[in-house]
Symmetry: C2
Subunit: 173 residues, 2 copies
């Protein structure tokens, strides 16, 4: 709910959750508390999903495909956390830099070192591209004529080859 609209009213959220606004306040002291709880929950879910992808193992390309799959699976959490820059704003200096930044950057650097990924762009750029394609795939799936299960393959395909017609050596399954 907060992922779809970060400024949703507490009344709307309560309605969407099927509870009264009073009950919502009983569980979360104030709006900040609710947001914090949602952030913690989302980070945990994302961490778990990404950890399951074991991106430090196997070939970088295969690892990246597993990562995309894992990210799309928790797309709603990603949209919530990173869709509105204000969500994670107060957390920059404090603790976690971002839930999954470090292992992803490590994977990208490994892929560049092994010759799998474009070495002429920064790892940070590749990371943003990854994120933005996952976001786009998850967010605009229906607008792009993509079925839910088609998101992952479309994201992987475009992430790996861009929009050019694939060359034989880069063709994937």
């Amino acid at each position: 709910m907060l992922g779809r609209d970060y400024h949703a009213t507490l009344a709307d959220i309560a309605d969407a959750a099927g509870v009264g606004r009073t009950t919502l306040h009983r569980y979360f002291s104030d709006r900040t508390g609710l947001i914090s709880a949602a952030i913690e929950d989302s980070i945990a879910a994302i961490d778990e999903s990404v950890a399951g992808a074991a991106i430090d193992q196997g070939s970088p390309i295969e690892a990246m495909r597993r990562l995309v799959t894992a990210m799309v699976a928790v797309g709603d959490r990603l949209v919530f956390l990173f869709g509105d820059p204000r969500v994670l704003e107060g957390r920059g200096a404090a603790g976690t830099p971002a839930p999954l930044d470090d292992p992803v950057i490590a994977l990208i650097k490994r892929g560049q070192a092994e010759g799998a990924f474009d070495p002429d762009v920064t790892p940070a750029w590749i990371q943003r591209v990854l994120w933005s394609l996952v976001y786009t795939g998850y967010q605009d799936a229906d607008a792009c004529g993509l079925a839910r299960h088609g998101i992952v393959s479309a994201v992987i395909r475009t992430l790996e080859n861009g929009i050019h017609t694939p060359t034989p050596e880069h063709r994937q399954v």
Copy 2:
């Protein structure tokens, strides 16, 4: 300003513009009026920039490169118009579908027909990818170690080739 934060306070906007809040109200009857004016202005600027790219001429790849350049040049307007889905929400049925959808889709279809672009994904998907890369490039330029002038080339490079190490036949200038 509204592009950075769609929910910016009128007082903040007035401050950023270097005028008093009263003066702001004198030019725009209410917040809706201000938003509308900003939308009109942004659409005009985008239309002008994209028209200058003449994407119906030349090879699809060259046209797409010109389009990316034109889009990055009006990145702030794009961020404002499409960054928050609420901005253009009330305009769906009324008039313009979106300022530049049709010519871009036409370019993509032409590129697919001529064998330049991946024919196995929908034009709508390619369009979203294009938009999301431009958005990412414009928005996160500094976080990705990209100088302002490096955005266009990074976006084009990744859009065309993905994150794979480029093959000789696909290498660009």
